[in-house]
């Protein structure tokens, strides 16, 4: 049982990394970004591209089966993913915002981007799974009866580091303060001299960066498939809703709950229904606390 817990935590870390971008676009741009999963996928494949171009493998760090080459590739991939996301925003979402398009129009556009992104990856890779490197997880006993994989520990540590950086950005920098201001009241933010367009750019970039980290780590841990990000979309949304939608820490906490719930579902033999279990958690939560989900009035 406790073994499933460890899986749940790793899963939670990946969900949280992805869901933060969702939460940021939800609060700053005010729509549910159905293409968030594909940002994650893009990050994973861009990392693969860089790993391949560098040709240095993914390295190792002591017992961990990946090292600097993968991390450096990931950082380059963050720039590439961020650039793609900004171009999509410029071509599609920005004109829609400029027209004061409804939230639903934005969601629909995102739904379209999601399908296009997934199928572009399919088109370019032929749909075959890819791997960064040949990797067999080797577990060691942290204490009797509880084994952990060094890579899993590394994943959780990297996620923790990313959250710490995010915390500093949001709470200790001027851009973070501006993001919170735009999230709360875009008009007042503009009156205050905040360039909302710049804030929106940074929102996309930060979300894409964390999603790229999630994608690369997920790709290392499993495999790269065109649907890898899309399959995480529902858990990410669930984390967002559980966390109360307007609060980044809530989103992380929500991700932990979802990750553990999914691990529990697997533990009791419902692995085929994993996503459905996630969904059931949202539904139960919605039934119990509908008012907590409505977020702030606009």
């Amino acid at each position: 049982m406790i073994q499933y817990l460890a899986d749940g935590i790793v899963n939670a870390a990946l969900i949280a990394l992805g869901a933060i971008g969702l939460s940021m676009t939800y609060n700053v741009l005010r729509f549910a970004n159905f293409a968030q999963g594909e940002i994650l996928t893009a990050g994973a494949y861009f990392t693969l591209l860089v790993v391949t171009v560098l040709g240095a493998g993914i390295g190792t760090m002591g017992p961990i089966a990946f090292g600097w080459p993968l991390l450096v590739s990931m950082l380059v991939a963050i720039a590439l993913t961020g650039a793609v996301v900004l171009v999509v925003d410029m071509l599609l979402f920005a004109p829609l915002r400029g027209r004061n398009a409804s939230r639903i129009t934005l969601i629909m556009a995102a739904f379209g981007v999601s399908l296009m992104g997934r199928n572009l990856v399919m088109l370019m890779t032929g749909g075959e799974p890819f791997y960064y490197d040949f990797y067999i997880p080797r577990a060691f006993a942290l204490f009797p009866g509880f084994e952990v994989v060094p890579d899993d520990l590394a994943i959780v540590a990297i996620a923790g580091l990313a959250f710490a950086l995010l915390f500093v950005l949001v709470n200790r920098t001027s851009m973070g303060r501006q993001m919170r201001a735009v999230a709360e009241n875009p008009t007042l933010a503009r009156v205050n001299g905040i360039d909302v367009r710049a804030v929106i750019r940074w929102t996309w970039i930060v979300g894409a960066a964390l999603a790229t980290v999630a994608g690369a780590l997920l790709g290392h841990n499993t495999q790269l498939r065109p649907e890898m990000g899309f399959d995480l979309l529902l858990p990410m949304f669930a984390a967002l809703i559980l966390g109360g939608a307007t609060n980044l820490y809530g989103t992380i906490l929500g991700a932990v709950v979802i990750g553990l719930t999914e691990a529990l579902a697997v533990a009791i033999g419902l692995s085929g229904y994993r996503a459905a279990v996630t969904f059931a958690v949202i539904v139960v939560f919605l039934l119990l606390r509908p008012q907590g989900l409505l977020g702030e009035r606009e």
Binding site: L92, R118, A275
Partner: protein, 323 residues
Amino acid sequence: MMEGMLSFAVFFLVFASFYALCSLGLNLQWGFTGLFNVGVVGFFAIGAYASAIITGPAYPDTLFGGFGMPFPFGLAGAMLSAGVAALGVGFVTLRLREDFLAISTFGVAIAIQLVCLNFEPLTRGPNGMYSLPRPFAGLFATHAFDNVLYLVVCLALIAGVYLAFERMVRSPWGRVLRAIRDDEVAAAALGKNVFAFRLQSFVVGSAVMGLAGALYANFQGFISPADFLPIFTFQVFVMLIVGGSGNNLGALLGGLFVWFLWSMSEQVMQALLPPTALTQAAAARIVLIGLVLALMLLFRPEGILAERRIVSREARLPRAPKR
């Protein structure tokens, strides 16, 4: 040759009918009531499986179903099942704001697909349900005539749904729906039970999607979870957007037009590309349809046929300022 063309056209139109019905159902929910249902395929799947269980043969490995009842019972059962499912889903989700509704319905569709895939005692899981009875089969020497008859049934059902919806949206009931879509608070202030109206619209629209699912199942004679993927929902959305949401005729035309593009692109790609590239070809078509959607949203958001103003001229006010 001529016969081949004709039978292809019939086949094409039968499939277009499934989409047209879903598009009409979604138009009631979204076009007229503003409910963003991302789970169209879920209700379509429920209809298909319900009809398969009601009309299909008994399989050795299922615990329930195989009632072998006539086709009309399958249709009715499909509408009923999808409607009941919509009632449950709607009851939980329709009080939410629009984007949470979108997320929830998206989740519903995934959950339904997982049930189809994993709940083998009912659905036979990935093996699917086969040998579903095709109405009119065996009445004629060739399949071509069955298909024509089937098409007639589909068209009659579409006509029925279309006329019913046209009546409904012009009735006081439909007026309330549009009022809710345009200004929920004002509608509530007028003493309308917003939730009840939304629920009714959601249930009726979903029942029509269920009907489409039953027609699909009994035409194909075989269904499996792979038939019910999110791309289906997306196609229906593109149809409605291209046709013009809020316009029933637009919903039908959009269904026909987008299905035409979709099928033609398949034919073209099959003719041009080697069989080894068919995965890529399918992906390319989806990218293409995504592009169509994006361009429509950007350059003609009202669709080919814009919503007709059903409001009388003197009652019309200039659009309220956006603040």
